[in-house]
Point group: C2
Chain length 171, copies 2
């Protein structure tokens, strides 16, 4: 316990925190809405498709997929079930571990991702990068890295999303 009572935020900190909350709501709201309305998928699903697309064989064990997208096994399980209903992902039994399931991106899934990527990237640009200077972008990267490192120290090297995994567009 801290004997000096709560360490309240300074005026600057509070302003920064409130602005940050508002900005995130704005930004992620816009990104989510674009993806949902124009591509018919939530951002989480987009991320899963990206993760799969970045992999040789475009497939991943459920656990690895969960880890790669920094989400729980449960979430991925539910999400893959929905994606499978749409025909974007296929579940395959793992040959080496009979408990395992492998999620595999289908051709349709890849097509959906390729179709979604340009609009999504454009939205991220509009909402984020177009309004920041290059310095601010690197500041943001540094800030993000610091937050990330403070949270789970293990995943310092990891990242979260993928917009244009080099080979996604068209191909």
């Amino acid at each position: 316990m801290n004997t000096s009572g709560p360490r309240w935020l300074t005026a600057e900190e509070q302003a920064a925190w409130r602005a940050f909350l508002g900005a995130c709501q704005e930004l992620f709201g816009a990104v989510e809405a674009q993806l949902q309305h124009e591509e018919g998928m939530p951002h989480t699903y987009y991320e899963i498709l990206v993760r799969l697309s970045e992999t040789p064989g475009r497939s991943l064990r459920m656990s690895q997929l969960a880890e790669a997208s920094a989400s729980s096994k449960s979430r991925v399980s539910h999400a893959v079930a929905r994606l499978e209903e749409r025909g974007w992902v296929r579940r395959v039994d793992c040959p080496t571990d009979r408990r395992g399931q492998i999620a595999e991106l289908t051709a349709d899934g890849y097509a959906a991702l390729s179709a979604a990527a340009p609009g999504h990237v454009e939205q991220v640009r509009r909402s984020l990068f177009d309004v920041l200077t290059p310095e601010q972008v690197s500041h943001l990267a540094a800030i993000s890295a610091a937050i990330l490192a403070a949270g789970d120290p293990k995943r310092r090297a990891e990242c979260e999303d993928a917009e244009a995994p080099a080979d996604v567009p068209v191909d």
Copy 2:
């Protein structure tokens, strides 16, 4: 349409975007979890209580409350219903507009907020301000302001959350 094809993210931008997504997930996840597990309320509800607490009379029309917390009428309506079940908020008919409802923070609600604030602020500190330099904090504020301004140009002056509305702790 842009005739030059999608403006893909540069390597720096992509790294920044991924890091930023991860950081937000980490940060908001931690904040949400702390509030949920230790205080038994989601961050959204905390925000509503704060908004009410900051108001003379500790009450607000539903619409104003929605606007103040940057959320939809529907969300606020549902949220206030839950808060009312817990006895933290009371609904009162508006005397001047018979369509109107006024959400009023109860003594219990104020107590709950006062009890929750220190832990919440502490968490925000740990996850955010403790890991940033003062320069980074001001960078973050500037970045947030830019994003906010780009989004809804009208709410440039608005903010999102309140940690310690000056008079909240203890009273």
